[in-house]
Subunit: 296 residues, 2 copies
């Protein structure tokens, strides 16, 4: 019987330790490092790094070899949170139960800490090769996969559309497209980067793309649900903010109960995409269920 | 006799054409692309890409093979200008003779356009290998070199110190350190990335590091000089702003005339570092002189 809690905890520890090493290796003591560390080590779920590691393991690779990519993905995720929280964007003052970066430091420092985390992600990817035995073309492929997912045809474009969508009525299709860009692309890149580094075949990677697309989608539906009925203490952030901002969400378009059953269907589709994988994909299967059962 | 103007013009054209291609290849039509294109195609000098190409040529490589790195460097330079100009940072409203990105668009779009350009730089570097014959380990080395130069021990840290230095009295050493981070590191990465891609030896790359460190330094001294006595029409930006902000500059610490002769000495040292190179390093030699003679 696969124990998710223990698995998540051990991988989280692995990732946190390596993130600390990366930070001290790539920055100097000072305000910039403090701001980067403040946001990066603020106790996130580490979902993307864990998906990256689990993706490597599912195709028979090992966690250690995927770790540089896992850390790079968390750095990119964190930078996107820091910038999204800025006054010019979502103007949030609470994140993971703590003041957001621009509140704890200042706006200029927050912008630069985000920039530095994004840049550090690629620095880490470029050195992954030195430590481990992967051929450099595999690392270069991962640089490309992650950059595409994070950039102007991925996460950044998703954030543009998210801002434009405030006070606008979106169709379900528009909303799905927005989320596949804003969060889906990086989640897909997480699973698939791990699989590339783990030596997955083209067919395996294609199946994992399907898996990741579905859990990424479900993740967002669940996020919207939590923004309606979640516990702010557990979440570490305010709830009800989507409605306050008149944002189109799954609950606002299809209703709360329908959103929950939709998320469930997506998770079933994700797990089905793992049919041809053996027990080494159990973490991915269990994480899929965790995504819709989570309280934070 | 080497003709600098014709050389710069032909390389600038090469870079601009490829930048246009990169933009349309990596973005969708829309506000994000417009903002990225607005700043990236605003008619900069293309100093970094040209240095990258000239670095490749100096060691016997060709311009075409260095072009993805040349474009990546310009994207990173442009992103840094967009973010530096933001209200939370330098709060500039004029750049290259045009309204800055956050004035022409809005603050959120400017932050995201910068983020997307930085990300696109690494996307382009990851695909450089597909088009050309360089081994992937060379591209991976360039990813690392550029990321280190642009990040928290390079350009971003330099900008942090630049902000902290406003209204502070800096020593010459502090000022030199600030500039070596803020502009020097990326200029060095430009010349050296080209040389790595061009197949330069370790000794050649070391000499080019010395060359680049000196021209980067001279470039900043000259920038400070232009901020005192430059022509705002030629520069495309306001002058006298450093004094207005009580910024420590070379002219403010060592005086205007001494700053000019210091820049000259640095350029002589840069050219001396090219002693063991043949005529293929003529562009680098001539660019060095251009850096202190430029009016913009």
């Amino acid at each position: 019987m696969f124990e998710l809690a223990a698995y998540l905890e051990s991988k989280r520890q692995l990732v946190n330790d390596r993130l600390e090493e990366c930070l001290s290796g790539a920055t100097w003591p000072g305000r910039l490092m403090e701001a980067m560390s403040y946001s990066l080590m603020a106790g996130g779920k580490r979902l993307r790094p864990i998906l990256c590691i689990a993706g490597a393991e599912a195709v028979g690779g090992d966690a250690e070899a995927a770790l540089p990519a896992a850390c790079a993905l968390e750095m990119i995720h964190t930078y996107s949170l820091i910038h999204d929280d800025l006054p010019a964007m979502d103007n949030d003052d609470l994140r993971r139960g703590k003041p957001t970066c621009h509140i704890a430091f200042d706006e200029a420092t927050a912008i630069l800490a985000g920039d530095a985390l994004l840049t550090m992600a690629f620095e880490i990817l470029s050195t992954g090769n030195g430590v481990h035995a992967h051929p450099p073309d595999r690392w270069l492929a991962v640089v490309g996969r992650i950059a595409r997912a994070a950039g102007s045809r991925g996460m950044v474009e998703g954030q543009m559309r998210d801002i434009a969508a405030e006070n606008a009525e979106l169709s379900l299709d528009d909303l799905a497209r927005l989320h596949s860009l804003k969060t889906g692309a990086l989640i897909q890149a997480s699973v698939c980067s791990g699989a590339v580094l783990g030596g997955g075949t083209a067919e395996q990677i294609e199946n994992l793309e399907t898996y990741a697309r579905n859990i990424g989608f479900a993740f967002q539906v669940k996020d919207d649900v939590l923004n309606v009925e979640g516990d702010p203490t557990l979440l570490g952030k305010n709830v009800g903010t989507d409605e306050l901002r008149h944002k189109s969400t799954y609950p606002s378009i299809m209703g709360l109960e329908k959103s929950k059953s939709f998320a469930k269907e997506l998770i079933e589709a994700a797990i089905e995409a793992l049919n041809t994988f053996d027990h080494r994909s159990d973490p991915l299967r269990t994480i899929a269920n965790y995504i819709i059962e989570r309280k934070r």
